[in-house]
Structure formats: C-alpha cells, structure tokens
Subunit: 193 residues, 4 copies
DNA sequence: AATGAATGAGGATTCATTCAT
DNA sequence: AATGAATGAATCCTCATTCAT
C-alpha cells in the first residue's frame, strides 16, 4: 500500500461520508487526493471496489486503534472506558458512514459482508474478554460475560446515538455526552464486586 | 390520502428497501403500485419527496402499531415485551431500510430530520413511561427510568442486530433470538423489586 | 416498426457508414434522426444492437429490392443484369459499410453471423436459379450452374471493386464501369447456347 | 528496420486482427512484442500510424512471398496455382483483417489509400502477366488477358470467401476448398489452347 | 386525472499518449 | 533508449422528470 493508494482511500472516505455513495464522484475523490481522475483506476478497479476497500481499511484501522489503546491501560474498567471513547468518536463523527455501509451491504461482495459481520462479533468478543479479565481480577462479579458485553455495547451505542441526534438537533451536546458517562458508571457499578 | 397515494407509498417502501435509494427506479415503483410512471408525479413532486413521505408514513404507522399493541397489555413487563417484539421484527426485516434512512438523513429536509430525531426520543419516552408505570405499580425498583430506558433500548437493539447479522451469516437464527429473550429476562430481573 | 424506429435505422446507417463503428456517436445518430439521445435507447438496447439491427434491416431491404426488380424481368439475361446493377450500386456506394460489417462480424451475435453467411448463400442461390432458368429455357448451355454462379458473382464483384478503387483514385469512372459491362458480356457469351 | 520495430509490427498485426482497431490496445501490442508500452511510441508516432505501417508492411511482405514463390514455378498454370494458394491462405486466415483495412481506409492517409489501390492493380497485373506468359508459350488461347485476370481473381476470391464462410458456419471445410480447386480447373480449362 | 414517449443532464470508465526517471 | 505511472478527453447509457394527449 503506497502513498497514493492511501491518499485515495482517505479522500474516498471523506467524500463517501460527506456525499453518500452515488453522490460521491470519482472526479471529486481524485481531486481531493490531488491526482487525476484516471489514476484512481490504476489503484482500484471500480467505484464499488474502492468503496469496499475503503470500508475494510477503516475497519482494520479502527481495530488497530482499539488494540493499541487498550494495551496502554492496565485494568478492565479503564480498558472499557477506552472502547467507549472510541465508539463515541465514531458515533458522533461517522454515524452517516455507518448507515451508508449498512445500507449498501446487500449489494456488497461476500468478502465485505463477512468482514462486517465478523467485525461486530470481534468487537463484542473484545469487550467480553475485558470483562472476563475484570472478573478474573476480582474486579467484577461473576456474571455472564457474553450477555453483559452485549448489553454494555448496546447501551453505550444508544447513548452515543442519542448524543449524535442531539448534536444534529442543535441541543447542548455536553449534556448528551454526560449521559454517556452516566450510563457507563451505572453499568460498571452494576457489575462491580 | 386516497387509495393511489397509499399504493405508491407501499410500493416505494418495498422498492427502496430492496434496492436502495438510487437503485430504486420510479418506473419500478409505479409498476408495483399498478399505475403509470407519470402518475407518481401527480402525487409526489419528486423522488426525494416520495422517499421522505414514505419514511414519515412508516414512522407514523410504526407508532400506531406500537401504541395500539401496548394498549392491549395491562402490565409493564408485557408492554415492554410488545416493544421488544416489534423492534425485533423491524430489526430483522427492515435493517437495510434503517441504514438507508440513516445514510440519507444528511441530505434530507429539516422536516424529516426533526421527525427522525423526535422519533428516537419518543420511542425512548414510551419505554420510559412504561417503566415509570411499573415503578409506580411496585413492579420495579425505584431506578432512574430515563437511563434504564436507554440501556434497555440499546441492549435489545444490539441483541436484534446480533440476530440479524447471524441471519445474514447463515448461522442458526433460533439461538440468536434466544439471546434476545435472555437479555430481556436479565434486564427485567435486574430492576424487579 | 414505427416511424421513429425507421428514422433511427436510417440515421444509423449513414453515420456508421461515414464514421465507422466506434467513431459513430449515438448522439450524432440521434441528431440526424431528429430525436433526443435518450430516445435511441427506447428503441434499441445498445449501440451494438442498433448496429446489428441496422445490418439486418439493410440485408432484408436489399433482398426485397432484388426480388422485386428481378420479377419485373422476364428472361435470365435481363435478370442477371438487374443483379449486376444492384451489386454495382452497393459496391460503389457502400463498400466501406461492407468492410465494416466484415470487420465486426467476429464480435457480433450468432444471429447476425448466421444472417450474414446465409445471405451470401442466398445471393449465390438466386444467381444459380436464374442461370438454371436460362438453361431450361434453352438460353444457356448445360453448365454446372453452381460453379458458374460463383464465378459470375466473383467476377462481377471484382469488376465493381475495381471501379470503386478507381473512383477513390480519381481515375475516370466511366472506363471502370465499362469494364464491368464488358465482363458481363464475356461471361454471358461464354455460356450462351 | 531493426528488430524491435519488426516485433511491434508483428504483434500489432496479431492484435489488430484478433481484436479490431479500437479493441486493440497499445498495451496489449507492447506486451506481445515483449516491450514496454511507452517504447511503442519510440518507433511509431501514434496508433493510427502503427496501423498504417503494419498494413504497408503486410502488403509488401505479401508481394515478396508471391514474387519469390512464383519464381520457383516455371509454367503459367503452376504460377497461377501458387497465387490461388496464397490467396486461399489469406482469405481463410486473414479475412477479418482485410475487412478491417477496408473499413478504415476512408480515415487513412493518402499514402495508405494509394498503396492499397495500387496493390489491387499490381495483383491483377501479376495475374495478367502470367496469363500473357501462358498465351505466349502457347499454353493458353489468345484471350483478353486483362479481363480474364479480373474474372480469375474474382472467381477465386469468391470461392475462398465461400470457404471461409463455411468454416465460420462449421460446415465441412474440405468440400468448400474442393470447390476452390474445381473453379480453378474450370477457369484454366476454359482458356487452355 | 392518468399516461408513457421523449428527453438530456450527468458520471463511471477506458485508453492513447506523455514524460520524468 | 526504455519504461510505465499518470493523465483527462471522450462517450455510452441511465433514469428522473416533463408534457402532449
């Protein structure tokens, strides 16, 4: 993956996110990447494949970020907090992109579909592992980690979606994000031993 | 709203859902509605407005369904169960449409955006009210109803998204839905007085 | 085949003939047919299919012309003369189109290929039948009609190609066409009984 | 004309023949010639000029072949037979290329047009000279050599086109080529003294 | 009111050609 | 001399929308 390949992916992410799939023009992506229209096709076979490679790139980049930031924390609660913060950033800033991917999944390649579904599982598994770690460390009660991971992820996502809707409505964002923190506290408290 | 108007809306819902926004052709919508292509424009000014009116129609229809089914139940737990079931149906069968709406929201009219955001709030409020009702009835502990409503909705949504991803992956759906029920039990148990 | 369908076919013939396949623009064909670009696609599914239908149309039209003009003659020699005249017109005015069809045959549909090959056979058969008629009428010697038809067609085609090359070279065309007549005389004389 | 120049011409011939003019890609020609795409432009100024030089090369090569093979025969009939065999090979294996050249002639340079028309004349002249030689040697009757050359060439071309159409149709090729031989016999018999 | 034939704006894609290395 | 990465002109085709009937 050389420099130009990466430039196109980043430009594609911006344009797809701002415009949507059909509204995103290859010429605009090229312009933002600082290259000629034809050059995009030297690196990607089609608009569809550019979209899919971009999604995969973002997913992988997302995991790298999560993995590296989690490693920097040494207890389960702080690790979960890291995940919450990353999810918050994604939800607030890239909610539209998420909807776009969801909407286009049915016309995507099997590779992307699988990647997307596996990603959800892997995210849940990461949370579950952290919780198990907390249980083993005596930090948390001996709960069903799988179910709690699911509840945790759902509640946090919901809180962030709430926040991002409020942002869109122009409501005070601070309060919305405050709720996200409250929810986190409540959930953690409910499993603390 | 006469008969033909409704027919077009229903056909539009099917086609947008199956195909996505740009892939949905006005001619196909007209064909499914059993009318001529030009007639669509007698009832809707443009594709965009047809899409928006369809979304609003679905939202309103959804609330009517929820409201009427809730009224048939007489205790909070059964009412919450009704909501879970309806959400389950939407998540499993109309996940793509949800993504589509989410992805197109930024280019939608302020009316639709507001409607969409208000809808989320109203859904949460409905849940919150049921929980308050349960608290008042002595069924539930005296919890923060707003926060619990959010956790409840998030956890249930997550469980259903899990199920719908499993459906897509071809995994056994029964188990996935079983999880949805388990989550429901856990959440209710955690607030039962 | 309504009026607009025909107009497009005629315009397509002119433009393909003048420009070649790739150099012929759909927009130019539409303009010459006096319609909008999009309208072409209401009548033909693609440029390729327009080309093929045009070829088939020309072939069928050619046969109708030959058949009707032959019927007007009552002896074999005059009938052959009619064929020579029609071939002359085609060769001089539509030689490029013939080359174009030949060159594009390998990427054409099986339907067109078959049509093209059958057409050659049918042309030879028509000539052969006229010769047979002449033999039966005692006008011609009892020759191998199949072989003579082939020699006749080849010689005449060659004479006309000669003429059309001379036209292109700017040489006096009269002399070239004179040769066509001479060849006709020689061939007929060689089989007269 | 060095080695690389020749390699490109040969590769161009193959690709133009297989694909047609526009479908032939410079990159494919370069690949087949075993060189880089840019190198083609060191030897030829454009695709069009490569095409034209290729045609001229083929024509000249064709004449060299005919001339040298004719010289190996010492009587008129064998010499004509040589021409028939070469034409047969060209017609069966390179008919598409001939159509391609014909179709593109109108957009070709004057040089190529002239070359092409002169070639036809020269071919006829070669045949005429052989027939004259046969007449002088007492082998043939004292016929109009010019006209007979034209009939001869036309009849043989037609027979081969017949054969090549039959090949395309999947019909037995042996019989088709048999006809070519029969025609040759008939023509020669008709002028033998 | 209902229709669908006609339209043309708009964009993905291709590939001959250039030119820095 | 040889290369191939980069370019953008050029065009087929789609489909939302219009409007005469």
């Amino acid at each position: 993956m050389n420099d130009k390949h990466l430039k196109i992916l980043m430009a594609a992410k911006d344009v797809f996110e701002e415009e949507g799939y059909h509204e995103a023009k290859i010429s605009e992506i090229a312009k933002r990447a600082g290259i000629g229209k034809g050059t995009v096709y030297e690196y990607f076979t089609s608009k569809q494949s550019l979209f899919e490679e971009m999604v995969i790139f973002l997913i992988d980049m997302g995991f790298d970020t999560i993995d590296s930031q989690i490693k920097e924390q040494d207890n389960a609660i702080d690790k979960l907090k890291v995940i919450v913060e990353i999810e918050k950033e994604i939800s607030l800033n890239h909610g539209k992109l998420f909807g776009l991917i969801l909407a286009r999944l049915s016309s995507a390649s099997e590779t992307l579909k699988t990647k997307f579904y596996d990603t959800r599982e892997r995210e849940l598994k990461t949370i579950e592992d952290i919780i198990s770690e907390g249980v083993q460390a005596g930090l948390f009660k001996d709960i069903n980690t799988k179910y709690f991971a699911l509840i945790f992820k759902g509640a946090i996502s919901q809180a962030h979606m709430n926040a991002s809707c409020n942002v869109a409505k122009g409501t005070e964002i601070k309060e919305a994000l405050h709720i996200s923190n409250e929810i986190f506290e409540i959930l953690i408290d409910s499993i603390k031993s």
